[in-house]
Symmetry: C2
């Protein structure tokens, strides 16, 4: 039987999966990200891995990488948080070392691809995936393919400006969505006295734990805490403003939301869907579905396997 090895390099760990040509996962496990601190360490680790897994007949390797990737050339311009990876012809190097066809792309693009074929995006034609975490990222699948843009940098929904003026974002922009609903900003809001003081429940948790987490807010919201409910509504409305515009502009039929912040669940999704339905244009909005990501931590690995599979067949996806 023929297998693909999918590797998804994240900020804190590396996820590895073995899939067949129908994308059934046979193994799924993690490695510490340090093992990929630079290309030569990564190659050693991959060679060991292939040796350990030698009962699988690998026809392709697929990589999801957090940075700027030229998919066509199999080239890494740089990786965020992994400094040893500037300007690396990863495909060329790896194919030489392993003798196995290699394909790579940006990690968010591949998570979107995974969701599109196997997760919450199944059956859609045009889709946006949004990841809500420390950063607010995005991946676009248009007409069945990853949309990469002119410099392989498309998808930066987190840097769509919410208004004319506001705080300067680390990207150089002003009033970017991410600077309002990124994890860091949300943590700062909920741990500000003028915020939690308005809820007895949250004040009590803050006193007990020293620091409030987004999960605390979610649990409080589920118990009916008004402040917590309004907090998530506010996040939903800010996100909804930009997503309304994206649906009007791109006429996508599916929006998938993943990342830790999406764990707020219905507290986030109910006001978000309501907001978008109310404001979006009639035709574009009629059938648009806003769903939670379905593949969780496996999306990236599965996306990498899908990319590699189509790559083997000579199809750009």
């Amino acid at each position: 039987m023929k297998y693909i090895l999918g590797i998804d390099v994240g900020g804190t760990n590396i996820k590895v999966g073995i899939a067949d040509y129908k994308f059934k996962l046979y193994k799924f496990f993690s490695l510490p990200v340090e093992e990929f601190s630079n290309p030569s360490r990564a190659i050693s680790r991959i060679l060991i891995l292939l040796d350990e897994l030698n009962k699988y007949n690998f026809f392709a390797l697929g990589f999801g990488l957090p940075g700027l990737i030229n998919y066509r050339k199999g080239y890494i311009h740089y990786l965020v948080n992994l400094k040893g990876w500037k300007n690396v012809y990863w495909r060329k190097i790896l194919e030489k070392e392993t003798g196995i066809r290699t394909f790579l792309d940006n990690d968010v693009n591949l998570a979107a691809l995974g969701e599109y074929f196997l997760g919450a995006g199944k059956g859609s034609k045009n889709m946006l995936m949004v990841t809500l975490g420390t950063g607010v990222g995005g991946g676009l699948i248009l007409n069945g393919k990853i949309y990469r843009g002119s410099t392989y940098s498309a998808g930066e929904i987190g840097h769509f400006p919410l208004k004319a003026s506001g705080s300067r974002c680390s990207c150089g922009g002003v009033a970017c969505l991410e600077s309002y609903i990124g994890n860091k900003k949300l943590m700062r809001i909920i741990n500000t006295r003028s915020f939690y003081i308005k809820s007895q429940l949250l004040s009590r948790i803050k006193r007990k734990k020293g620091k409030l987490t987004l999960e605390d807010i979610t649990l409080a919201g589920r118990k009916g805490d008004t402040l917590a409910i309004e907090f998530w509504e506010d996040v939903a409305h800010k996100l909804g403003q930009i997503l309304t515009g994206v649906v009007n502009l791109l006429d996508v039929d599916r929006i998938i939301i993943g990342g830790g912040v999406a764990n707020a669940g219905q507290l986030l999704f109910v006001p978000l869907r309501k907001f978008i339905k109310k404001r979006v244009m009639k035709l574009q909005g009629r059938d648009v579905k806003i769903s939670k990501a379905g593949l969780r931590e496996k999306a990236g690995v599965l996306g990498a396997c899908i990319l590699a599979y189509h790559g083997l067949k000579g199809r750009q996806i």
Copy 2:
């Protein structure tokens, strides 16, 4: 020799052009829009036209139409401002009546296509065309093809919200770009006493002519009138806010701006380019070019011919 007849149906008139397979125009003229008030009148007129032009050997007809078009089926759902055109299988009808292969798409999509291949979009990979007129419309060419979206309604850049709250737009949305920089709104602003009173020059013109036009503001701006210059800067900043987000999200390398309002020229383009360069993400913004549309009133007809040409070759574009 082989020719294509391109027909671009606009709000006030119909533009007709005859092109060869290299898109050289042999004739270009207008008809009153009333001649296309409904499908049967349009068919009669087209048959007469083909008769008059019978020295040209037409291999295809291309149509740009202001409404919702299913390009794949050659089907018109409806046209804006032309009520007799609900649910018409235009391709099927016309091919039967004329014996000539027929292709159709939305007019803004085809204007964008024309600019992409023959105008200000030449050499770009991914491009947004914005038309600034009564409405603020848009057409996207991504990876060399018209991007149509899931319901054939993509491109509505005019209905991207500028902020969280604001006036309700005719589309049902709130604070849409169009409701700030659409022609109607701009005309209302410049003819408001509290506006023009701040400029001696504009007050004088208003007194003399009764009504200020956008061209008056542009001429005043060229003479150095501060109020006029600031007026166009304000339009540029509002448009620039959304375009900054679009460049970050879609990583387009070209933005083409057409429509009457774009005639403000440098008064609009200089602050617009400056605003976007300052706020956009580094990589996406590095090579992005903001250009004025180059084909003017011929863009739609040429786009219709390009669509038909590729359609004849069996390629979806």
